[in-house]
Amino acid sequence: MSELAIRRGAAPALAVRGLDYSYPRASKPALVDVSLEIAPGEFVLLAGRSASGKSTLLKAACGLVPHFHGGEIEGEARVADLDALEAGPGELAAAVGYLAQDPETQVVSTTVAAEIELPLEMRGDAPTDRARAVEEVALALAIPHLLDRAVDTLSGGELQRVALAASLVTRPRLILLDEPTSQLDPVAGDELIWLLRRLNEEWGVAVLLAEHRLERCLAAADRVVAMEGGAVGFYGPPRDFLRWSNDSDAALTTPAARLFSLAGLESLPVGVRDARQTLRGTGVGHPPHIASRRVPHPCSSEPVLEAKNLWVELDRGEEMRDVLRGIDLEVRPGERIALMGRNGAGKSTLLRTAAGLLEAVAGKLSLDSIALLTQNPSDYLVRERVGDELPGGEGMAALRVVGLEHAIGADPRDLSGGERQRLALAIALAGRMEGEQLPAVVALDEPTRGMDRARKDDLVALIRGLAEDVDLLSHSERKATRPAAVVVATHDVEFASAFAERVVLLGEGVVIADGPMEEILSGGWYFATEVARVLDRPGVVTPEQGAAVLRGELE
C-alpha cells in the first residue's frame, strides 16, 4: 500500500480502545480488551481461528453489536469519528459498509438496481444522485449488466458483488468483510480480493477483511490483526505476522511461509511474488520440467462409479441449461478424488446425480452405493439427541466409523462444528454399510466452507481414514474388504493438495483435466497451490514437497 493512499492525519477509519463484549446469555466474552486503529485508506487483514472473535469485531465496527444483537459492551469504538456504540447501524451506514459471509441474506430487494439504490433512498438522496451513484458503483464492480436482473437469478459470486455494491454505494470510508470468498471458486475469490485492492487504492476506502485462506489476501494487506480467544494476539505488518504465526500458531501461517520455514529460509514471504524474488536472490532457479509422478490407480479392481457420456439439464432461473455435458468418469475403490472447477462448473450436480437427487437426461451412470454429505451438515440434524438420529446397531456402527460413539447421548447443537459434520456424515452412512464395509463411494460437497486450518486437518484425517480403512480413534485397520472411494467437491486448492491423490477438473459441465493431484495442481495458475505458483515445478504442490526440493538445491 502506498503511503499516499493512507491519509495520515485524518480521523482514523476505525479506532477501537479497550473493547469488551459479551453476547446475551454467553458464558464467556466474545471480545476481550480489543484495541486497534485503522488509518483511512489502509487494508487490514483480520486473521484467527474459528470463534476467535473476528466476526464479532466486524459487527461491533458496523454497529450491529450491541445495537442489533444486544449484550454487554464496554470500551470505545469510533468509525470515522462517529461513536459506534452510540450510533446505530443505520447511521453508521454512511461511513461503514459491511458484507457478511452468506450472500443470500445480504439482499433485501427484488432487482439488483433497487438493491444498490436502497441505502441512498433511505438516506433521502435525490433521484439523480442515486442514479449516478448506482451507475458508478456498478461500473466499479463490473456489474452494470446485472442491474436489471432479479436477485434470485444470480449466482453466489454475482450476489456477493451486488451485496458489496450496496455496501459501497454510500461511498463509506471503511468496508468490513466477513470471509467474503468462502463460497467462491479460486478465480472469483482472487477477482474479489483484487477488486477490493483496487477500491482501496483508487477510492481510498479502508478495508478490514476477515479471512481463513490467508494466502489469498496477505500480499494485498498493509497490516494484519490476529485474534486469539477474543483478544488481539498480534497487530502489525504481514511479514511480522508470518514470523509471529510461525512461532505462536502454525495453523495461521501461509503455505509459502511454511515452505520457506521448512526449507530453513529466514525471510518469510507474504505472497508468491515476494517468494519468487527471495528465491532469485538465493540463486534457486527454475530447472527444466521433469515428468511428474504418475499415481497409479490403487488397485486394478472394477470401478465403483462409472459415468459414460452423462448429460444433466437444470433450470437455471431463466431457462433450462445443460449443466453436465457428456461427462466420462471412473472412480475405483480407495481413491481420494478432489472434484474442482469454477462456480457452476457442475461439481455439485455430478455428486447429486450420483446420489440420485437428480436424473440424467442422457448417458449412463452406474455405481454400487453412495453416501453424500451436502454443503450444510446442519441440514441433516433434526433431532435433539445423537442417539435419536442414529438408533440401533447400524446407527452405532456409523457413529463408530466417524469416531463419535462417545457422543451418543449429546445434543447435536452442543457438538463442535467438526463433530456436527462427522455426525451428519454418520447419518448419511447409516444403513449403507454392510458390517464394517463402507459404501462404495463417500462424497462430500464443499465440506470446508468457513473452516479454519485446524478443522481442515481433522477433515483430511477423516477422509484418509475412510479411503484407507483406518479407525479414526484407534488408528487400527478396520475389517472391511474394500475401502471406500472418497470424492470431495471443493474450491479449496490447499485442502485438495492435503487429501487428494487425484484431481478431476470440471469446466462448463465437461471434464477438462483428470490426473494425479501433483500434476493438476502444479500445472496452472488458479487451480494451483501457492507452493506450486512459487516454485513452478511440475509435481511440487505442498510445502513439504517444496521444502525438500529447496533444501536439495540450496545445499
Partner: protein, 304 residues
C-alpha cells in the same frame, strides 16, 4: 428452480407503469369477477387477465396460473355438485353416500359451481400477472411513506419467502440423503427445523435492513420513475371497466340464475359488459417499433 410467478424484470407497458396504475388496472378486472356471477362476464374477466399477462410477456406465469386455476375451478364445480342437491334438472342419482346422505347431481349445481370456479380462476390469473409483472420493490417504495412498518414487514417477508424456499429444498435433499438406518424424518421435524432456521434467517435479513438504513428517519426521497407514459392508459382502462361493470350491474347485465333452473342472460347489457371487459385485456399492448426503410444507397458515380 425459479417460481413462474416471480417478478421478471423486463420492459413493457404493464411493467413500466407505476404500481398504482398497474394495481388499478388488474384490480378492476378482479372487481368485475367479484361483482358478477354471469359465467359469460366471468369468462371475459378471465380472458382479459390472460390476454394482459400474455401481452405483458408473462406467459409462464399465465400458463401456471391457468393450470392451477382450472384445476381449482373443476374442484369447486365437482364439490358444489356433490354437496348441493338444489336444482330441478337431475343429471345423475348417486344414491346414499356416507356423510353426504342422498346425492343427486343437478345441472344447476354444476353450472353454479362452474360460476364460482370461474370467479376463482379469473382472480388467480390476475394475481399471477400482477406477481410476474409488477416490481415489488416499487410497490414497497410507494407503500413506505404511507405505512413504514407494514412496508418493513412486507420487505422482510418478501425476501424470506425465497430464502425459506431454498432452505426447504436443502432440507428435503438432506432428508432424502439420510442412510436407510438413520431415524426417518417426517414432515413435522422438517417443518420444525425449517422454522428454527427461518428465525435465524429472519435475523440476518433484518440485520441487512438495518445496515441499509431502514431504521433511519431520513426524509424520504422522491422516487425516480414514479410515473410512466402508460399510467394514463391503465387508469383510463381501469375507470372504464369499473364504470361499465357498475352501470351494467344497475342495468341488469348480471342476469344469471342458477336455481331452481339455469338462466343465463345474453342481453345487450351483458354482451356490452362482456365485450368491454374482454377488450380491456389489450391494455398492455405495445405497438411494435416501426423500422423506417433505409434510403437505398446507390454507388455514387464519380464525375470526371
Amino acid at each position: 428452480m425459479r417460481s413462474p410467478f416471480a417478478y421478471k424484470p423486463q420492459r413493457g407497458p404493464l411493467q413500466d407503469a407505476s404500481p398504482g396504475a398497474a394495481v388499478a388496472y388488474l384490480g378492476a378486472i378482479v372487481v368485475v369477477a367479484f361483482l358478477y356471477l354471469n359465467p359469460l362476464v366471468l369468462l371475459a374477466a378471465g380472458a382479459a387477465a390472460t390476454m394482459a399477462g400474455i401481452l405483458a410477456g408473462a406467459r409462464a406465469a399465465v400458463r401456471s396460473a391457468l393450470k392451477m386455476a382450472l384445476s381449482l375451478a373443476l374442484l369447486i364445480a365437482v364439490v358444489n355438485a356433490l354437496v348441493t342437491s338444489r336444482g330441478e334438472t337431475v343429471v345423475a342419482r348417486l344414491g346414499e353416500w356416507p356423510l353426504f346422505g342422498r346425492v343427486d347431481i343437478t345441472l344447476e349445481a354444476i353450472v353454479a359451481g362452474i360460476s364460482y370456479g370461474l370467479l376463482a380462476a379469473a382472480t388467480i390469473v390476475a394475481f399471477a400477472v400482477y406477481s410476474a409483472c409488477v416490481d415489488p420493490d416499487r410497490v414497497l417504495r410507494a407503500l413506505r411513506p404511507l405505512a413504514g412498518r407494514s412496508a418493513l414487514t412486507a420487505t422482510l417477508v418478501s425476501r424470506l419467502v425465497p430464502v425459506a424456499a431454498a432452505d426447504a429444498g436443502r432440507l428435503r435433499d438432506a432428508a432424502a440423503l439420510r442412510g436407510p438406518a438413520a431415524a426417518p424424518v417426517g414432515k413435522a421435524p422438517l417443518a420444525r427445523r425449517l422454522l428454527a432456521g427461518s428465525l435465524d434467517r429472519a435475523v440476518d435479513v433484518a440485520a441487512t435492513l438495518e445496515l441499509r438504513g431502514y431504521s433511519l428517519d431520513a426524509p424520504r426521497a422522491r422516487n425516480r420513475r414514479s410515473h410512466s407514459r402508460y399510467d394514463r392508459r391503465f387508469y383510463a382502462v381501469a375507470a372504464l371497466v369499473l364504470a361499465t361493470a357498475i352501470a351494467g350491474k344497475i342495468l341488469g347485465a348480471d342476469d344469471f340464475q342458477s336455481y331452481p333452473t339455469v338462466a343465463i342472460g345474453f342481453g345487450p347489457a351483458t354482451l356490452a359488459v362482456t365485450a368491454i371487459v374482454t377488450l380491456s385485456g389489450l391494455a398492455p399492448f405495445r405497438r411494435a417499433m416501426k423500422r423506417r426503410p433505409l434510403p437505398s444507397r446507390r454507388p455514387e458515380v464519380a464525375r470526371v
